[in-house]
């Protein structure tokens, strides 16, 4: 068994496939860089740099860090909105991120196989055109839900600063009583960052690993869009 997603295209044919369209690729890198900006600035909001001296009016360090966070937050949020739109109009691979085909038996088989493979229990290399099932699960949980969670909690907090009745408060303010209190929302917002970071570490490792050791292209796919197939041996 070496195929998971029911593909219109037989991976065995070894022909390159156009997987990631331009908007997906652009989004991926916007998402990457805004995430990194959010994580760094967010960390520095929670754990500020050593105090600086002088007149308060001469400095705006914390203010600028927050500014970076909020600009990156808008990029992150708007980018994600556009990505959702593209899932509706883009190619079949554009939808994979958002939908776990849990109703499909072969998807579950693929997932199991993938897990066995990464635990070195199976040597049979799985091959997928889009994302493999394991990656799909991780991306859905940590990225899609994670991103929504970070946007929701982030804008809920932002709405408190903008004030009661502000657009962010009206759209996202309900999240605060849902979670309990503003302090808790803030703490979970931080926790969300760490969880996403865990995903990112593993994600980058997997991508690079696949590129080095795998039978299909990986990093070049998210850069150029085309999934290339190697000979199967190297």
């Amino acid at each position: 068994m070496n195929s998971t997603a029911a593909a219109p295209h037989d991976p065995a044919s070894r022909e390159p496939v156009y997987v990631f369209e331009v908007p997906v690729r652009v989004w991926h890198w916007l998402h990457t860089f805004s995430f990194l900006a959010l994580a760094v600035s967010g960390y520095l909001i929670a754990n500020p740099l050593p105090s600086i001296g002088g007149e308060a009016s001469d400095h705006f360090l914390m203010g600028n860090i927050r500014l970076v966070h909020f600009i990156a937050a808008y990029v992150f949020a708007i980018g994600f909105a556009v990505r959702i739109y593209w899932a509706l109009v883009g190619n079949r691979y554009a939808r994979e991120l958002f939908i776990l085909p849990i109703w499909r038996g072969d998807w579950w088989c693929g997932l199991l196989h993938e897990i066995r493979f990464y635990l070195f229990l199976s040597k049979d290399t799985p091959v997928s055109l889009g994302h493999n099932p394991l990656a799909q699960v991780a991306m859905f949980l940590f990225n899609v839900l994670g991103t929504l969670f970070m946007i929701g909690t982030g804008f809920a907090l932002y709405g408190q600063a903008l004030g009661i009745g502000s657009w962010a408060d009206r759209l996202f303010g309900w999240i605060i009583p849902l979670i309990g209190s503003e302090a808790l929302v803030r703490n979970w917002h931080i926790m969300g960052m760490w969880l996403m970071l865990v995903f990112v570490i593993i994600h980058i490792y997997m991508a690079v690993r696949a590129d080095i050791m795998g039978r299909t292209s990986s990093v070049s796919t998210i850069i150029g869009g085309w999934r290339l197939f190697r000979n199967g041996r190297r």
Binding site: G53, H59, F120, T125, Q160, S181, E182, A183, L184, M191
Partner: protein
């Protein structure tokens, strides 16, 4: 209620002139953050409405809400008690005791059914059939339920009545429960704070007496006029926060200069209260102004958010007391990095072991 005086009549009879009555109304309007046009409305309301009976009950609490209340400077607590409302029951202040005191509750229900305000300080414990707070030989929860069923509206004073407060902190041995979780069929206005600011308390009472309705409430049931802003957004130390100038430890150079208290645990960024605007004890100061960070005392369950002295606090799920998001996150991210490194090493080994067979995957 025909034989009752209106608030205005009461004030006139106490030798207060019409001029100072109107001045009182405009001060009150200003105190409530409303324009001068509201002064007229308040005056009209006070001239035509009888003094509202207030029943003030005490559950599990420390009575600091009452103590705070009597610190009110505008209006003076004495004027509120003697002229604005009729404080018919309050076990901390009333002259009667024993059954003569409890009789007043029955009289109130008979005379003012559906027309009195129930002011609750503290909260009822539910464990041990409510017997962790016994009044007149019976559990407090019974008295609370009975009076609530006959009142017009409830004021939940302080963090005890609003959220549960200190006795509800983990592990909440008595199952102390905030008012809104035991009374579901009456309008409740929460006035949180441990304790709330005196002028916030009398402001809320004045509003309810003057307008005969609850003030506008936010999503969590707090009056918008006092709780819509985070302390952080009106804090006079905010320029130091934005500049990146922090007190690193108590009594350091930054502390003497009045730098921001964020790094020593100030919870101003997540606390809704009027401290940074109304301030305490006649507008004299507030915790942050004196040099200690805000504890977040007006927020739900602020006791279980971890240290009062660190900016990142805990998640409220870790049963053990004090793991913060950063603590947990650093461990997780570290574990992920180690896991990745180990997996990479294992991959290399496994790849070398059977160099002939390739593997592939992508993510």
């Amino acid at each position: 209620m025909g034989d009752q005086q209106t608030f205005y009549e009461a004030m006139r009879e106490h030798g207060i002139t019409r001029r100072s009555f109107l001045k009182f109304c405009s001060l009150t309007a200003a105190g409530l953050g409303m324009g001068p046009e509201f002064a007229g409305k308040i005056a009209h309301a006070l001239e035509t409405k009888p003094r509202t009976p207030v029943i003030w009950l005490h559950g599990l609490e420390c009575t600091c809400c009452s103590e705070s209340f009597i610190r009110s400077g505008h209006p003076l607590a004495a004027d509120v008690i003697l002229s604005m409302i009729s404080l018919d029951y309050d076990d901390t202040l009333m002259a009667a005791a024993g059954y003569q005191a409890e009789e007043i509750l029955e009289q109130t229900v008979q005379k003012y059914d559906g027309n009195f305000i129930l002011a609750c300080e503290g909260n009822p414990p539910l464990n041990e059939d409510g017997m962790y707070c016994i009044q007149g030989g019976k559990p407090y929860i019974e008295k609370l339920r009975y009076m609530a069923s006959h009142c017009k509206a409830i004021i939940a004073w302080g963090s005890c009545a609003s959220w549960g407060c200190v006795q509800a902190a983990r592990p909440n041995p008595t199952r102390a429960t905030p008012i809104h979780k035991v009374i579901h069929d009456k309008p409740i206005v929460k006035v949180p704070g441990c304790p709330p600011i005196a002028e916030v308390m009398t402001g809320v009472i004045t509003y309810m007496v003057a307008f005969g309705e609850l003030p506008e409430l936010d999503r969590q049931g707090r009056p918008k006029m006092f709780y819509s802003q985070r302390l952080h957004d009106k804090c006079y130390r905010r320029p130091h926060f934005d500049a990146g100038q922090f007190v690193e430890r108590f009594d350091d150079e930054g502390a003497r200069k009045g730098y921001c208290l964020y790094k020593v645990g100030c919870k101003g960024p997540t606390t809704h209260n009027a401290c940074s605007t109304v301030e305490w004890n006649g507008g004299l100061s507030w915790p942050v102004k004196s040099g200690h960070g805000c504890l977040g005392c007006a927020e739900d369950n602020f006791w279980d958010r971890g240290s009062f002295y660190s900016a990142v606090t805990n998640l409220g799920v870790t049963g053990g007391v004090e793991a913060t998001a950063d603590d947990i996150g650093e461990v997780l991210a570290g574990a992920a990095a180690i896991g990745v490194a180990a997996h990479a090493a294992a991959s290399v080994v496994s790849h070398m072991k059977d160099g002939s067979k390739g593997d592939s995957s992508h993510d």
